[in-house]
């Protein structure tokens, strides 16, 4: 038993090393003074100041944030509706089809989703004159489409693991479907909606392939700019950008864990009372 758990500790530690070694090397070299990424020239914040002076990267980051914000919000509305249908409408005709319909985007390779949406936009432009050209709005439509599937799955699993008695009680007390949803169900599934929004926001912020297909000239998102820079070669300011993004995410995750633990201890205290 002893040897086995030592074996487990060693292999699991190697796994974590594998996860974090490249990230730490990236963070350390983002503070490197030398332009040659692997030659250590002492500590410096040079690449951070160059990053903030790089208008191309800043503009792309702002565009990506805007697209991610709008797409995540739209995806949350549509995805919550779909998740609600899947778990609260009971059996209905075509439920299997609806369920497959909603989750299909999850298994579609990005290259196919991107290509097919682009061809749709081109065909629609030819037929109806809309969307005229491609840019921010076509990227938002594309991102909303694949994010809504993720939100639907998260909301559905939260709803089906949830106790229905509260909703039944509200119905017995005369709540109409609308107020039932907004006053009872929605507050209860809020954690699922928030994590669905955050996941959609991250997925949208991160997407290179679909955005490359459906964006137009002059509408480069942050991943598109990073991709073209990385393909060209040495890019120390990308290290600085990566470090900043990792920092933001790490703070967010730590905050979320802290919040979760506080809530957990609160529930324990309530239970004790």
């Amino acid at each position: 038993m002893q040897t086995k758990s030592r074996f487990l500790t060693i292999t699991a530690s190697l796994g974590y090393l594998f996860l974090y070694a490249p990230i730490f090397s990236l963070i350390i070299y983002s503070f490197n003074k030398s332009k040659l990424v692997t030659v250590w020239g002492g500590w410096s914040l040079k690449w951070y100041s160059e990053l903030f002076e790089n208008d191309q990267i800043i503009d792309a980051a702002l565009l990506s944030l805007k697209i991610a914000f709008i797409s995540a919000s739209l995806a949350v509305v549509l995805g919550t509706m779909a998740g609600f249908v899947l778990s609260r409408f009971g059996p209905f005709k075509g439920k299997m089809i609806f369920s497959g319909w909603v989750t299909a985007p999850l298994v579609m390779p990005e290259v196919i989703t991107g290509l097919s949406l682009l061809l749709l936009f081109v065909a629609m432009e030819g037929l109806f004159g809309w969307p005229s050209g491609r840019g921010t709005s076509t990227i938002i439509i594309a991102h909303t489409t694949f994010c809504l599937a993720y939100v639907a799955v998260i909301v559905q699993s939260r709803l089906s693991s949830m106790d229905e008695t509260l909703e039944e009680a509200a119905m017995d007390l005369g709540a109409k479907p609308g107020s039932l949803f907004f006053l009872v169900t929605l507050p209860l599934i809020m954690p699922a909606i928030i994590s669905g929004w955050l996941l959609s926001f991250t997925l949208s912020l991160d997407d290179l392939v679909i955005a490359s297909f459906v964006s137009g000239p002059g509408n480069s998102t942050l991943p598109m700019v990073i991709f073209s820079k990385v393909r060209l070669g040495v890019t120390p300011e990308v290290n600085a950008l990566a470090t900043l993004m990792i920092l933001v995410v790490a703070l967010g995750v730590i905050g979320a864990i802290y919040q979760m633990r506080r809530q957990a201890t609160m529930t324990v205290k309530l239970d004790e009372k």
Binding site: M1, T3, K4, L8, T11, A12, L14, G15, Y16, L19, P22, I23, S25, T38, L78, M81, A82, F84, V85, F98, G100, W101, V102, T103, A104, L106, V107, P109, V111, I112, L115, S116, L117, L119, L120, A123, T145, L148, A149, V153, S157, G178, L205, D206, V209, P223, I226, F227, V238, N239, L241, A242, M245, V249, A250, G252, V253, I254, I257, R261
Partner: protein
């Protein structure tokens, strides 16, 4: 009101419930328009001929009202070319091979991590879980970039091996299939760890003790008890890793060499480099039929909830 009248009224309301229709209809309409109709367009364009114009294809249907003339021209050339040229078949096979091999290695790396998390308790478990999920929330592209820097000729891995004296000259690791495997394992590791962890967490530890009391060696008890019990997690994790890996574009494009053939990359190149939209569409349709449909069938037979 009599009971039957009440029931009739209830049934009537159920039949034309506009609220329900609206709630189900809006997302269904959105997905229909922006996810399913596009495939019909792709199919249509895969049957057309490429040309130098904007957009770069000739429409199938040519309607001329004045001359009362309608022509429909279907071009099967793209599909014939797909099946004749070994290049495309090789790309499909190579994608499946790369996805299978890297899914296997992801399982190897993920298993001890998931097991260690399941065996840890309290706040240590939360921490270990968070450490696996954290990289998943950072940019995928930047994580792939981190490996480019790490594996390159004068990168940290080579520097380390040279300093320690294991190698005499730097290894060429970047732009090889090896780097692609690493990239896929690294990127999709959380997808494997989480289902494995939830399967292992449910496992009853006394079963292993019982097996060992009955004379099982650690290795035996692993293969005879632990692994079979973790099987639902293994399958769910493998499906979750295989699906995105097989259509991957970014990882082979950045970490792979010129000869790393993957179908996602072929489609991208047909579209962006050759500007052959009909050919790219034909590749997409075949990919849909031979890769995505089987995956969907497997997923459905496996049961919905656990796969995601």
């Amino acid at each position: 009101m009599s009971m039957t009248a009440k029931l009739q009224k209830y049934n009537f309301i159920k039949k034309v419930n506009w609220g329900r229709t609206f709630v189900a209809g809006v997302p269904a309409f959105w997905l229909g328009l922006f996810f399913f109709v596009p495939f019909l367009v792709v199919f249509k364009i895969s049957l057309s001929e490429a040309t130098i114009a904007i957009p770069p294809y000739i429409d199938l249907l040519d309607v001329d009202m004045e001359e009362a003339y309608i022509s429909l021209k279907i071009n099967l050339g793209n599909y014939l070319f797909l099946f004749e040229d070994d290049f495309y078949l090789d790309a499909y096979l190579s994608s499946v091979k790369i996805a299978v091999v890297s899914t296997f290695f992801t399982l190897l790396v993920a298993f001890p991590i998931a097991y260690a998390i399941a065996k840890a308790d309290g706040s240590k478990r939360v921490l270990l879980l968070a450490l696996v999920i954290l990289p998943f929330w950072t940019s995928f592209l930047l994580r792939v970039y981190a490996w480019m820097e790490f594996l390159k000729k004068n990168g940290l891995v080579n520097e380390f091996l040279l300093t320690v004296g294991i190698i005499d000259e730097p290894l060429i690791m970047l732009q090889t299939d090896f780097a692609v495997y690493i990239g896929i394992v690294y990127t999709y590791l959380p997808f494997m760890v989480l289902p494995l962890y939830s399967a292992l967490e449910k496992m009853d530890g006394t079963l292993i003790e019982a097996a060992q009391d009955l004379g099982c060696k650690p290795m035996q008890s692993f293969f005879l008890v632990t692994l079979p019990l973790a099987m639902p997690g293994v399958i769910a994790g493998c499906v979750l890793v295989f699906i995105p890996a097989v259509g991957e574009f970014v990882i082979p494009a950045l970490l792979g060499g010129a000869d790393t053939l993957m179908i996602g990359r072929v489609l991208w190149d047909e579209f962006f480099l050759n500007r052959d939209w009909p050919m790219a569409s034909a590749v997409a349709i075949v990919m849909l039929v031979v890769l995505v449909l089987p995956i969907m069938l497997i997923r459905n037979s496996q049961g919905k909830g656990e796969a995601v």
